[in-house]
Amino acid sequence: MFGMLKKLMGCVREYKKVSKLTPILMIGEVVMECLIPFVIAKLVGQIEAGCEFTVIVKYGLILFAMACVSMFFGGLAGMTGSKASCGFARNLRHDLYYRIQEYSFENIDKFSASSLVTRLTTDVANVQMSFMMLIRIAIRSPLMFIFAIVMAFIMGGKMALMFVVVVPILGFGLFTVAKKAMPLFRSVFRKYDNLNASIQENVKGMRVVKSFVREEYEKEKFNRAAEDVCMDFTKAERIVAINGPLMQFCLYANMMLVLSFGSYLVISSKGSAMGVGQLSAMITYGFMVLSSLMMLSMIFVMLTISAESAERIVEVLEEQPSLTNPANPVYEVKDGSVVFKNVNFKYSKTADRYALADINLTIKSGETVGILGGTGSSKTTLIQLISRLYDVTDGVVAVGGVDVRDYDLETLRNQVAVVLQKNVLFSGTIKENLRWGNAEATDEELMEACRLAQASEFIESFPEKYDTYIEQGGANVSGGQKQRLCIARALLKKPKILILDDSTSAVDTRTDALIRKAFREFIPETTKIIIAQRVSSVQDADKIVILDGGRIVAVGTHEELLASNEIYQEVYTSQNKGGDDDAE
């Protein structure tokens, strides 16, 4: 808990000054607010005593000045408070975002994109809210509480003892309510999230619901869940609803005590121990004391609710990137050769199954290698080790004769370009997307890369050509076009090794062949590693690697494998059934 707070507070940084200033300004406001009733009581006393008019004016001016001071402090605290809390949130988002940039694939897998989004948005908003409460009200309320009591004692003397009765009642009541309601709220919020998740499922799967005619079934299911949420919520809310009457009870008790006990004091002392003005001020102080207590309990609830958000944020901040640069990194990749030596790999230490086992493979610089295998045969896993997106569990992966773990990460990844299976274009123009590969690329270089990737033709057909705006997720280009843009983007890196992870699946076989032809002719020195579903995509490779269940079962050329490997034969025939009419 303490470590967590420390970590969060570390994000306040340049807003430390305003964060500290806010409660100090608040002190100004609170002091004034507590003094005003005191001065007014005096004024009433003066009026009661039948003072001169000038005295009243004097008091009036003092009071007016005090209100102005209070307004000044209050308004200023409002400004610094929002600056501090918004700044704090800004730093939090910044730190989270930058930390995530350091994450390895393993770290990203651990959290999943959607949970990272929640942490950067909702959770930060919750913590920001709490922070604002904390610097504005968490200081203000106890101060108000103490000042009001002190003033009450100064003014009312013995009468202030009534707080000894009322405050514990309210404090105990509020505490009990908060303690009881909190776990209920925590569980019901979770249930509520689940309810919304199931609505979302329905919205997305409406075609399924309707085609199976499950509308009534879904309604029943929903109503049961909603009923459950409703009952739990009502239970929790009813407990919290006790706060209102409890607070009122204390206020009323305060009022009655003041009126009866107060009148006794005024009358029995002939107005010397206490005047009518003080009587009224005592009521005001009572209100201040009790409402600040109420505020405190609200903050308490708010903080515990956002504690979970804080935990989730700190979790991201404290996650150590599982891959780091070596101490004395190698900054040059000599050539595009790849060697796997006795490689075993599993995604987590606790997993009992190896995703890859006994991998030994040598790829010479400039070779074209095809990788084939069924779903779950770990093809993607294999190539991700080459650019060190994951670290091997045992054995060595070497690029250009050097263990990948000895390279500077950026050097390695710039030389080993991977076109991922789940590829993403970002909202922005085609040019902007391509420049991810090389920020300094000239327009000629961009066009050259697109020609190689067979993308220039369709890009030229767009009215705005290379300045065409790609919508989020590349929604306005087809799957095949997207894949070719992604290949062009990777080509712009001018890598020594180019890896295509099923990157031409949506491209027709003819274009696919053209891309491979371009690779052969224009980037012959680059090592090309191609994962594919289609035999035609790999059959002219220098060698084809067959993976099954995380092991290499065969390596060879198209002819060799066709003659000897059962899996290869199976795939080949399934794709060419009755097919001597295949153009390739």
Partner: protein, 654 residues
Amino acid sequence: MPNKEMLKKEAEGKEMPMDGKMPGGKPKMKKGMLKRLIVMLFHFYPVLLPVIVFCIIFSAIVSSVPSLFMQNVIAIIEEHVNTGDWSTAKGEILTWVLRLGFFYLLSLISIFASSQLGAILTQGFLKKIRGKMFDGMQNLPIKYFDSHGHGDIMSYYTNDVDTLRQLVSQSLPNLITAAVTVTTVFSIMLYFSVWMALIVVAGVILMSFVTKTIGGRSARFFVRQQMAVGRTEGFIEELMNGQKVVKVFCHEKQSGLDFDAINDALYEDAKKANQYANMLMPILNNIGNVLYVIVALAGGLFLLSDVPNVSLSGKVFSISIIVPFLNMTKQFTGNISQVSQQINSIIMGLAGAERIFDLIDEAPEVDDGYVTLVNAVVAPDGTITESEKRTGTWAWKHPHQADGSVTYTLLRGDVRLNEVDFGYEEDKMVLHNVSVFAEPGQKVAFVGATGAGKTTITNLINRFYDIADGKIRYDGININKIKKADLRRSLGIVLQETNLFTGTVMENIRYGKLDATDEECIAAAKLAGADDFITRLPKGYETELSGNGANLSQGQRQLLAIARAAVADPPVMILDEATSSIDTRTEAIVQKGMDSLMEGRTVFVIAHRLSTVKNSDVIMVLDHGHIIERGNHEKLIAEKGTYYRLYTGAFELE
């Protein structure tokens, strides 16, 4: 295609809800929203609602009157303070205090009742309105879901219900309390002194002016803040989903800088919005304080200068009027600032209510079909009779209105489209003169580029959309006459984008037929070739799936979807890219299962991969809504037309 549009809408949708719901953005509120909301509340809770409102009003009145008691007590004190004789004053004072205590007791009871009942009412109301929304949503046509972003629909349930909760549980009760208190207090003020009441009114006018100026400014920046939040969230979502690409391209630094720019902009807008909001309270409070001072001053002035008091009570100025007046001033201004704090949430709540009512008011899917699907028994002589029990044989029950007779037609799975035209929008036809004849047991394949109209045809067969012209007959019956639920029950559909539901694997398969036994489900899974991977899951068929089966691969999800359709055992099946994510080798393995699944059924297949459709009885090649080629694989290859070129890879299927 609706799908692409959907995606686009969803992407844009993030910023859409803001227009309607932000305060100060001058939301165009339909008139009577509040009235409709109250009528609805009253309709749900005809007894509870009035009771709660009564309790709130009662406690508001009761908590405003203590000033009267106080005035009396102080008057007594004034009387006795010079003698210092407590014993004579004691009786009178205690009587007043006890009377006050009695009032307070009533007030406490009503506050307790209204807050407890209020919690029950609020949550009950929210549950009912959620239920109404969900029920209404289930009855909406598919068109609604294709034309509205999923994010938008979800925000009805999350954001809008939340604002409604705020409105019902806090803003409205507060508003009633404040209105009643202000009225009562003001009456009491007039009762004591008209002059001083007028001073308070002047102060209140000033306060509303300040609220309007500062509040308006704050609202303006809140709108900007919301927009910045939308931008930031959009950016975060996009980049978090593409984080692996960022890594692969070593783009971390640039991506960080891009984020900083957007993050800083959000900071600026958020800071300003909050500054104004934060300043409003202290300013209003202190105007309250100044007013308090002015009232005290004026009171003193009146007292000293012997200005004749004008009041309803006819009382003359005395300290016993000024003191309670000061308290009343505090109460009055306190309530005004309370209301000013509620204005934003009231506007937002009403905008939320409007959006919720829009969803509820959306026209449901119309189903005027009268031909129903019944269990049937076929006698040896061929006559069909209806059966109560599940017989495994189905028949269409066709009542004839003219003579009241009923005819039965055996469900066979004969689907014919006759010269069908269709467009998602009236003036933009996507299918032109399409005719397809599928005899029972035939496998019909559709091939063509995205947007050629393949999926559209299947959307018409199960009447997700209605055709513009032409006829579709199912076993010789015009499908417009068939009850939609029964029509859809007779069609099994497997879509490219598989949607699974939270629950176990078994429950997900059973979705196809709710009364299926475990054995039936397992048999269906085996048929679909899903049994193999299911048994390898940690808990086999009892493995819990969540987040649309996030722990399964796309291919595995598709296999489950096929099993789900298999257990329903419909005579007609539509496979829309159902095996697109299953690799060819696995597909070859499940092919046997798929073949036996398709056996004896009419099957419509849409597939990108031509190897999947090659063995169809008839292949339709679609282009821009026209069927340009039809025939089996051999015939189409021999024709050397579009299909041939597609097959040989000269065309790209996207």
